[in-house]
Amino acid sequence: MPTVKPYHQTIKDCAVCHTEENAVAGNKFVVPSDKTCMGCHGDYKAMAEKTKNLPEPNPHWSNHYGSGLSCTACHREHSQSKVYCNECHEFSYKIK
């Protein structure tokens, strides 16, 4: 079994993220689409609202990407998460 993040430990069913709808040519275990994340966490506007008071620029609403950035650009469930912004910037975000 692949490792999952501590905050998703209560999820026992792979199909919560790896849904039938997410499958490509019958393959369920591909990177999920953002709809899956947003189903529980809300859309970009909702996330941007939650993170608007961080000391760094809002990671969920940048002038470069707006809502045109995949959740999985940064948030990786089965491996180390990595802030996409820091390909170019030096923000001190703490990503789980």
Binding site: V30, N63, Y65, G68, L69, A73, E87, C88
Partner: protein, 506 residues
């Protein structure tokens, strides 16, 4: 005897493909044939989501085609989303309002000069004369610009607009939203793997790696998509492909950073070359002269130097305290001058600075100071001390420059002083400078209608290309603000061409 050019081209393309694919470590699949079953069929498939791809997809969709746009990275926008948002256009209402006399002919002359005689004039004219309509296109889709034009290096007059956000995201975000609103099928993490061609060599689709996880070349699931009218390649440059750029210029090795996003690795170009696309000026690679060695990528200093340091300040050699080039020359001239500051094989980073008046419009100043890549000083002597510059000749250089500003005549390097200011009001703001790999002027050869040339000089049917992946337009040095013009203009041209194409029977 009749030579079958299609077969000959495919054979040559195969050889190229083998070499190119092996060299980049990609597994080269067999060329896909027209017997392929398509998982889905569109009229038009656009590869890449920067200025060129978004413009092509949006205009093709507005022209009535069903459109798929694929982007291999997890974010739309490519390099376009992270660039400075500077768009050079001749004859804008803003120029007229500011009393600046300009014309497409004057812009054309500037670009010809910058290209050092290597520009393909038919392509250059398309970009220049298409810039104002492209600007109007962006306004229609919600793009907002600052209320002043800027004077970029190599331009004879101020003509460069900039988004209010100081980034190309100010254009790519509205265009992405327009694409979605108008029904373009937009896919992230979808990487183009192979062209699908019919027996006559016409491009009729693509094999795509869906749910691709950059840079894992085995990730995702292969799907095959048909394109009745054509495929538009808008995949950008290869500044992040260290191997390939070193083949063109061995000095562009891993020690040189790049301003580009990580996905600017050039596979789209290599795939077109592999099926016989004609390479044009591949070795013409531009470095951005405004970057800092103190931060990664494009960073914050680039905008500071572009809008404050270079037009309103000066750049000095830290060993002498003196200027060494025209800070508003075009990028090649400045880059060559900066790279000349080597000592014992190591860079001697010059310092660029301006005063408190000069930083008025520097949007990245606050963050630049926060992250330490731009520094603040109360006196010229403090600045000199911090960077190890000999103070006396440095102070004398500033005084000389100030006299030249008053006289409106740069006797040292013949820089335009139209926007320059006397450097006399503390505090002063400074940064270290070193070029980074920024733009590939070369790419695949195209007609002025954005059709891709094969190496036999005819066009490859069904295949179009636009933006940085193409070669010939900018010659030896691209002028600042002209990549947005190129991408938007030729993206729209590609859409117009593909809409006119006779549908393939698939």
């Amino acid at each position: 005897m009749t030579i079958n050019f299609n077969r000959r081209r495919m054979l040559i393309g195969g050889a190229l493909g083998t070499a190119a694919a092996a060299a980049t470590g990609l597994v080269q699949a067999a060329d896909s044939k027209s017997t392929a079953k398509f998982d889905k069929i569109y009229d038009v498939i656009v590869v890449g989501s920067g200025f060129a791809g978004l413009a092509a997809a949006l205009e093709a969709r507005l022209g009535g085609a069903s459109v798929l746009l694929i982007e291999k990275m997890p974010a739309f926008g490519g390099n376009s989303a992270i660039n400075g948002g500077a768009f050079s256009v001749a004859g804008t209402p803003l120029q007229k309002k500011m009393g600046i006399k300009d014309s497409p002919e004057q812009m054309l002359a500037d670009m010809i000069k910058s290209g050092r005689g290597l520009s393909h004039l038919d392509l250059l004219k398309m970009v220049v004369y298409g810039s104002l309509p492209a600007y109007e296109f962006t306004l229609r889709h919600g793009v907002k610009y600052k209320d002043f034009v800027q004077h970029f290096g190599g331009h004879s007059v101020p003509r460069t607009l900039q988004t209010v956000e100081s980034t190309g995201g100010g254009i790519t975000r509205p265009l992405t939203e327009s694409c979605i609103k108008h029904g373009v099928d937009m896919r992230l993490r979808a990487k183009m793997e192979e062209f699908v061609r019919d027996e006559d060599g016409r491009v009729i689709g693509l094999v795509v790696r869906e749910r691709y996880l950059f840079p894992d070349e085995k990730s995702g699931v292969l799907q095959t998509y048909g394109a009745r009218k054509g495929v538009v390649m808008a995949t950008g440059g290869f500044s992040r492909n260290v191997w390939f750029r070193k083949q063109q210029d061995p000095q562009l090795d891993e020690r040189l950073d790049s301003t580009n996003q990580p996905g600017a690795t050039g596979e789209g170009l290599l795939k077109m070359l592999a099926i016989g696309g004609a390479p044009v000026q591949i070795d013409q690679i531009q470095l951005g002269p405004w970057c800092s060695p103190d931060e990664r990528g494009f960073g914050l200093v680039s905008q500071f130097n572009t809008i404050a340091g270079f037009p309103m300040g000066i750049m000095v050699d830290v060993r002498t305290g003196k200027r060494f080039c025209n800070e508003l020359a075009d990028r090649k001239e400045r880059t060559d001058a900066i790279l000349g500051l080597m000592e014992n094989g190591k860079p001697v980073y010059p310092v660029c600075f301006t005063d408190s008046k000069g930083v008025a419009k520097a949007q990245t100043l606050k963050n630049g100071l926060k992250y330490g890549v731009i520094k603040k000083f109360d006196t010229l002597e403090d600045l000199a001390k911090a960077y190890g510059i000999p103070a006396k000749p440095f102070v004398e250089q500033v005084a000389r420059f100030n006299e030249m500003v008053k006289a409106k005549d740069d006797k040292e390097f013949h820089r335009s002083l139209a926007l320059a200011i006397v450097l006399d009001k503390a505090p002063f703001y400074a940064c270290r400078v070193w070029p980074k790999v920024h733009y590939c002027m070369g790419g695949v050869g195209i007609t002025k209608n954005a059709e891709v040339y094969g190496i036999d000089g005819s066009v490859i049917p069904g295949l179009y290309a636009c933006g940085e992946v193409t070669g010939g337009t900018h010659g030896a040095s691209r002028l600042g603000g002209c990549a947005i013009a190129d991408g938007l203009v030729m993206g729209r041209v590609a859409a117009e061409s593909v809409l006119k194409a006779k549908p393939a029977a698939i």
